[in-house]
C-alpha cells in the first residue's frame, strides 16, 4: 500500500521561529511536491522537486525553502514563520506525470 507520511499532524509555532516540515514517501517516486491549502484558495504549489537535490519554485515560494537530500524525503522550511503562513500544508509524490499521492497534512498555526 502506497504511503506518504508527514512529520506532524498539528504544529504551533511563534512568529520568527524557523519551522521544518518533513515528508517521506515509500513508493520510490522521483517527484515530490509541497502545497498549502487555504479556504477558498484551493491547493497552491509552493515547491516541486523532480530528483534528489533538484527543485523548482511553484506559485508561492516566498518565505519558504526546501531540501531534498534523499529520494524518499522532501523537507519544507519556513525560515522565519509569520502569521500569514498559518495554513494546512500538504506533501505529495508522483511517478512521472501520473496521479499524486498525498500525505495526511500538517495543520500549522503561527502565533
Amino acid at each position: 500500500d502506497v504511503k506518504v507520511t508527514q512529520s506532524s499532524r498539528y504544529l504551533v509555532k511563534r512568529t520568527g521561529e524557523k519551522v521544518f516540515l518533513e515528508c517521506v514517501q515509500d513508493m520510490d517516486h522521483e517527484n515530490m511536491f509541497w502545497y498549502r491549502q487555504d479556504p477558498g484558495l484551493g491547493l497552491r504549489l509552493i515547491y516541486f522537486s523532480y530528483d534528489v537535490k533538484m527543485k523548482e519554485k511553484g506559485d508561492i515560494p516566498e518565505g519558504y525553502s526546501v531540501s531534498r537530500e534523499k529520494k524518499e524525503r522532501f523537507s519544507l522550511i519556513l525560515e522565519s514563520a509569520s502569521t500569514n503562513q498559518t495554513s494546512m500544508y500538504l506533501c505529495a509524490s508522483s511517478f512521472s506525470n501520473n496521479e499524486q499521492f498525498f500525505g495526511p497534512g500538517t495543520r500549522l498555526t503561527v502565533l
Partner: protein, 111 residues
C-alpha cells in the same frame, strides 16, 4: 496556460439522490485527468485517472467519465459517508510534472 474549473462549488443532496459533479478543462495535450476525494482536515485521496475521451472508471457509487473538454463524476444513490470535497486535476503531455487543480466541489449528503 492549463485551466480547470469545477462546478458547482457546493452541492447538497438527500441520501439516495443521484447527481453529477463537473470538471471543465483546457490543457495543451491531455496526459491524464485525476479525481480525488478530500475529507475535512485530511489530505486528498486518489480516486481515478482517465486518459482519453470516452473512458469511464467506476468505484462503488462513483463513476467518472471523460470527454475532450470535461469530466463528470456521477454519484449514484449517495450516502452520508460520500460527503467530502471532490478535486479534479489535469496533467499535460508537454513534459511538466506539475498538475493543475480545480478548486473542488464540496458535497454534503443529508440522511
Amino acid at each position: 496556460e492549463d485551466q480547470v474549473t469545477q462546478s458547482p462549488e457546493a452541492l447538497r443532496l438527500q441520501e439516495g439522490e443521484s447527481s453529477s459533479l463537473n470538471c471543465s478543462y483546457t490543457v495543451s495535450g491531455l496526459r491524464g485527468l485525476f479525481w480525488y476525494r478530500q475529507d475535512p482536515g485530511k489530505g486528498p485521496e486518489f480516486l481515478f485517472t482517465l486518459y482519453s475521451a470516452g473512458e469511464e472508471k467506476e468505484k462503488e457509487r462513483l463513476k467518472a467519465t471523460l470527454t475532450k473538454k470535461e469530466s463528470f463524476l456521477h454519484i449514484t444513490a449517495p450516502k452520508p459517508e460520500d460527503s467530502a470535497t471532490y478535486l479534479c486535476a489535469v496533467s499535460a503531455s508537454g513534459g511538466s510534472y506539475i498538475p493543475t487543480f480545480g478548486r473542488g466541489t464540496s458535497l454534503i449528503v443529508h440522511p
